[in-house]
Symmetry: C2
Subunit: 403 residues, 2 copies
């Protein structure tokens, strides 16, 4: 027998949590059990959910909860993420204070998922960067820009030293910069900048539009030279990412944007934990890079949740590749040592305002980050390194250093 | 200029809510404004979000909030639901205590959506039921059943008087009852029962599997005779429903199941209101019937949220058809007068355990509901009507009457 497991945190001041767990295990699988005649029970046994564990914590009124783990027979559902989610959290998501906090995939279920096509190692190989964190920038204020303006901004970012540039997630298909034109213009800009920097560069173009046309849009982008894609996974569903990432004709890394994730994870009582939403499921569905709010910047997530996402993206006990964590929003050079302390080398330093808002301009903004990465790599305090690196100096003066 | 609007409830004890609203309007559209040179501003004006209203309510510490309404220029995003959601709630969903509570679609945006193909009137015409609420039942404990067992259960439900029967949402593609076989068996059962009851019947088969194959699965089901579909919309994304419901080859009503909705709506601080999630967006995407937890039964939603969903499904000031509200979960005959008081005649009375769990069996369970609907239609108290209707009598004894 093969099972996928789900863990829930359930808040209730009075509930008999063992009974609650039993009712989920039965109610979300065979529907009823005690009323079944013995012969029927034998036939249904293989479909019955099982309570794996019940751990109760009672911190007084309003703070009594239990972590319930239920095992769901794989035979009950097809091996896709919509079926898994409907099985483990479909109906019960609506039944009181209950949050989905962890998934455990069976080998059988996992075997249906090739996972990230490139993973950390593959992306590093594409970029030929192996010994340091990767550095990414985000276009700024791109709505309304034409191709020339986009290209100009691209070159400035590229000259600053980034190896990844991503579209703004709110840049949709539009007449000024349709995806194939955007890719052409930006890749040409990358080539120009590359002659100066000697660096390879991935440009993640935002894949948007009707669901049934995403595949052909992606192929159009790839044919125009796209070497990466950005995707608003939660606006379309994990299964769409899974299909895109496992499509042999879309052989470029995919960066998963967390847009809408805040509708799921921040409440302690409801929704789906960030580590499931942006960790386990993004990786399973094949994201090579996963963006999420960092604990340091402007839009923040608690540090322990960030670390839980990191653990899920990097854990080595799965038969699929790892995904690159991209802690984002409000990142500036002074935060680089903190990011490296928390994430190690396998991380993407991703900045928008922290590059474009640099007092000496976008290109200098990039250089300030590169200097911070160099300093951190050599364990030199940023303030010390900044003494001989004016771009970093200027960034630290504006945004501050380690906290 | 044409705008779609979004309203948010933002909790914060200290924030300057006008400033917060401005920062959303700018940050989610053009990115920055005050730093832009005057000439640039003129060009970007048409892309700039606008603050429509800011209403502050201060109920003391922890209970100070504001309802902010922001208008987003249609020109910024493509006319699809993923683009709309990413635009209005992508990044800011992660930025503190903020909940999306209302959408307002522009005519231009709406024009891309045909809405429900049948709507309330269309479904009533298919069933030839015009003067009373519609009555639906749900299969019970179908995992592991074979076609004969399914058919047997179908007949019992049909003989009880229902006009709609829906699959369990956790019945996925499986070897025992693949969708086209299921449809054939159930439609044959419907025909048999129809010879006795004289009633037409819609059977909503659950549409599952990989996203790219849903269309062909639906067409296979329709070709096998399916006259309705059930769909776990939130597991796949609204855009998939939109594409299915507007596909000329899938010309049957679609019932939207709310599986996973509880991950979004219950928190007062985060997520998306039930009226947006299960009201506005389900209707826009083309659901002919929308299921949601009722305020009366086992899995419940507050009554005012139910009424807000109802209002969005039924409002007549939109250029698309209305959708049938299906308040569900724990519905028994004694609740029928309550449901009709709250929803009027344009509602689906939907029961599972309240039919199958009837002491006299599934068929009698259906008859008890029909009797309750008859009584309520004639303004006869259920207890009085039950005196001459033993099935209703038995149901009231088990589950109670109006509350």
């Amino acid at each position: 027998m093969s099972y996928c497991q789900a863990t829930y945190r359930v808040y209730d001041d009075k509930a008999d949590f063992n009974k609650k767990a039993e009712s989920i295990a039965v109610g979300m699988t065979v529907g009823s059990w005690t009323e079944l005649p013995q012969t029927k029970r034998e036939a249904m046994q293989k479909h019955l959910g099982q309570v794996t564990s019940v751990e109760v914590v009672d911190n007084g009124p309003g703070q009594r909860y239990a972590d319930l783990t239920i095992a769901y027979p794989d035979v009950n559902f097809s091996a896709d993420i919509p079926a898994l989610l409907v099985t483990v959290f479909g109906k019960i998501s609506m039944d009181g204070r209950i949050k989905l906090t962890k998934l455990d995939f069976s080998e059988r279920f996992l075997s249906a998922f090739p996972g990230p096509r490139f993973g950390i190692q593959g992306v590093r190989e594409l970029l030929n960067v192996h010994d340091r964190p990767l550095f990414m920038s985000i276009f700024k204020s791109v709505i309304g820009l034409n191709l020339d303006e986009l290209k100009e901004q691209f070159v400035k970012q590229a000259l600053g030293g980034v190896v990844l540039i991503k579209d703004d997630e709110i840049l949709f298909e539009n007449e000024l910069t349709p995806i194939e034109k955007r890719v052409e213009a930006c890749l040409k800009a990358a080539e120009e900048a590359g002659r100066e920097t000697g660096k390879k560069l991935l440009y993640a173009a935002n894949l948007t539009g009707p669901t049934s046309r995403l595949r052909s849009q992606a192929i159009k982008a790839v044919q125009a030279g796209a070497n990466a894609l950005l995707f608003n996974v939660l606006a379309y569903g994990y299964d769409v990412l899974h299909e895109l990432s496992s499509d042999p004709d879309i052989n470029v890394p995919i960066a998963a944007h967390p847009a809408l994730a805040g509708a799921f994870y921040p409440s302690p009582y409801y929704g789906i934990s960030a580590s499931v939403l942006l960790g386990q499921l993004m990786r399973l569905a094949g994201a090579d890079l996963v963006l999420f709010p960092s604990p340091y910047g402007s839009v923040t997530m608690p540090r322990e949740e960030n670390m839980a996402i990191r653990d899920e993206l990097l854990r080595t006990n799965l038969p699929i590749k790892t995904s690159l964590p991209v802690p984002s929003a409000g990142i500036h050079p002074g935060l680089v040592p903190l990011i490296l302390r928390d994430f190690g080398q396998d991380v993407v330093i991703n900045a928008g305002g922290g590059i474009h808002g640099h007092p000496m301009g976008t290109e200098a903004g990039g250089r300030a980050f590169m200097q911070a990465i160099e300093a951190a790599g050599q364990n030199i305090p940023l303030a010390e390194y900044a003494a001989s690196h004016p771009e970093l100096q200027s960034a630290l003066q504006l945004w501050g250093g380690e906290r």
